[in-house]
Amino acid sequence: MNDLHTNNHVPVIDILGITKTYDMGKLKLDVLKGISLQIQRGEIVSIMGPSGSGKSTLMNILGALDQPTTGAYNLDGEDIAKLSQVELARIRNRKIGFVFQSFNLLKRTSAQRQVELPLIYAGSRDRAKKARAALEAVGLEDRLDHLPSELSGGQQQRVAIARAIVGDPSIILADEPTGNLDSKSGTEVMQIFQRLNREQGITTVFVTHDPWIARHTQRVIMIRDGQIVADQPVAEPLVAGEAERPSEAEELQGIFEAAYAPSEAGAAD
């Protein structure tokens, strides 16, 4: 957590000129075309952009799941580009908490054991206690023994968030964490991210397609065609759950030619 790290001036993420090229035989696909980016400790940032623009590719590189074709990547002061597979596994284990769009929970495994997973590979003690604390932080202290099939989508994603934070990572990376959720569950998940960021100072980067969700973060980075096209602070970030999201009816206001009032129309005749 924030105050545990000695040097607060070093950005958590510092990438310079990152490119990623997929070699598809005849075709060379330049997915990332030179991305430079710094994310400071305690920030909560969203990345937006059209489908296929390279958001997930970037996130996977940030999460040490994939390696860039060229470019430098410093995570928490450590040069990731030079690390071996074993060391990358350690980075993923200790410094990064990844949350996926599709939750990626283990089948037929209790919530508590899902959350213990990173701790198992870290070889840490008191796994059960830490896992329960993480589940409590996402409001699932009464669902410890539930299997994924016994949890709602939102709850499953909260288990995944608990799994991401349990190892006390430097940063949480979430690729469309609300993408598979309805707006209410999405808001709940946002609430958790905001609270973890506010209370524990956890640095969070996530990808979203939903402008409403992006408005809850402090900074929005826009990507198009493998390049950053905008990187702006949000003037007044919303607090999840406080601001009422416009209902579907309100969002649809004004898109119809005539007023939509079928019952009145029927009564007038």
Partner: protein
């Protein structure tokens, strides 16, 4: 990441796919059961054979005329004779020999009433009963007088009684049978004797030695009395078997005018060497059968490999996730290796249990007197072989899992 965690993961996964795991280990179960019960039964038979020969004692040497191992000429073989018997019995030529019995076998037709059979008649010396600890049920054995008088009397084995008189419990004492058309009086029935491998002693027809040599066979040898088929030399107490063998060999070589001992036209054996030779045959046979049974183990191992490959591809996303949260390749490798080894060890345990059942039933029902021994070293072997199968056939699937890239694995549908 410790072994305990991997054991837990493997166990969880096996329990999730119980039926599949069960079917997979079935191959191993059958293979292990086949191999272990064969080895155990083989060992049981071996010790049974050994125990059968034990009763005969190591202090009897059997001498037979037999062609030399190399470059033999059958016509040149000199028979063993009553003269040899007398010389050996004298204790002069072979001081290690205490007593000697001789036997002359001849094929003859035996008739009683309308029943007839062709049988090997065994002419034996008067001390034969004592030397072999085998006596008539009632009455005495042939005497030296019977022998010199060439008495036409016979002692029958229990099977011969059954064959000739229709019932083993029939007492033919006093009846007259015809052997090669000569009348012989049955003077008694021999005790039933457990058969060692080979000739059944209960089908014997015993007559005095000289009777067989002169009246049933044509055993006269010019200047040397009569020929005999076998000589049994009983050794003095605490005699050195090898030394006794050397003494007898030296004497017979000199008698037969042979200088090269590899050209000896006789053989000297004792129950121990016979038992060893037979045990060796059984060991080879057991090993051969086990090797065939081991093929089913191989098939079982391929089954393990198959199911591990299925498991790895089914759990690709799980592998990706584990790697994403910090599992190293070697963590994944050991996870799947342990699962494969666990599968085959479970199969091994099942196989040993099955083998236990098979050998118990076989020991009780099929081969009376044979006690199969499922000894610790066989269990150890089974465990070792199963671990090896797990390692051998688990390595490829586990390695495949370990080498997966996290991103590709997570994207896998």
């Amino acid at each position: 990441m410790n072994v305990f965690e991997n054991l837990r993961i493997a166990l969880d996964n096996l329990l999730l796919n119980r039926l599949r795991a069960l079917l997979t280990i079935l191959g191993i179960v059958i293979g292990v059961a086949a191999v272990t019960s064969l080895i155990s039964l083989g060992r049981g038979v071996e010790s049974y054979v050994a125990s059968q020969f034990e009763g005969l004692g190591a202090d009897i040497l059997t001498i037979r005329a037999s062609p030399p191992r190399r470059g033999f000429n059958r016509l040149a073989i000199k028979p063993l004779t009553t003269e040899n018997v007398t010389a050996l019995a004298s204790g002069v030529v072979a001081p290690s020999v205490r007593a000697v019995t001789a036997e002359y076998q001849v094929q003859a037709t035996v008739v009683y009433g309308y029943d007839s059979l062709s049988s090997s008649i065994r002419g034996v010396s008067a001390n034969y009963a004592a030397a072999n600890d085998w006596y008539p049920l009632e009455g005495g054995f042939f005497t030296e007088q019977d022998n010199t008088a060439q008495a036409q009397i016979a002692l029958l084995g229990s099977s011969t009684v059954e064959d000739l008189f229709g019932s083993a419990s029939y007492d033919p004492t006093g009846l007259t049978i015809l052997i090669n058309n000569l009348p012989f009086t049955v003077v008694g029935v021999m005790e039933e004797k457990s058969s060692t491998f080979g000739q059944d002693p209960n089908s014997a027809i015993l007559v005095p030695l000289l009777t067989a040599q002169s009246k049933l066979g044509n055993a006269r040898v010019a200047g040397a009395g009569y020929s005999v088929s076998t000589i049994q030399a009983q050794l003095v107490e605490d005699a050195d078997v090898d030394r006794a063998t050397d003494e007898i060999e030296a004497y017979l070589l000199a008698e037969h005018g042979i200088t090269d001992s590899t050209q000896a036209d006789f053989s000297i054996s004792n129950p121990e060497t016979i038992s060893e030779a037979r045990t060796e045959v059984f060991t080879t046979l057991t090993l051969f059968l086990s090797a065939i049974a081991a093929i089913s183990l191989l098939v079982g191992g391929i089954g393990v490999m198959n199911i591990m490959l299925v498991s790895v591809s089914e759990r690709t996303r799980e592998i990706g996730l584990r790697k994403a949260v910090g599992a190293r390749s070697r963590d994944i490798l050991s996870q799947f290796m342990i699962e494969a080894i666990m599968l085959s060890l479970l199969g091994g345990a099942g196989g040993v249990l099955l083998a236990l059942g098979i050998t118990t039933i076989a020991g009780q029902a099929l081969l009376s007197g044979v006690t199969p021994s499922l000894s610790p070293d066989v269990l150890l072997l089974a465990t070792g072989v199963c671990s090896a199968i797990g390692i051998l056939f688990g390595l490829y699937p586990a390695n495949r899992a370990a080498r997966m890239q996290p991103i590709q694995a997570l994207r896998f549908e």
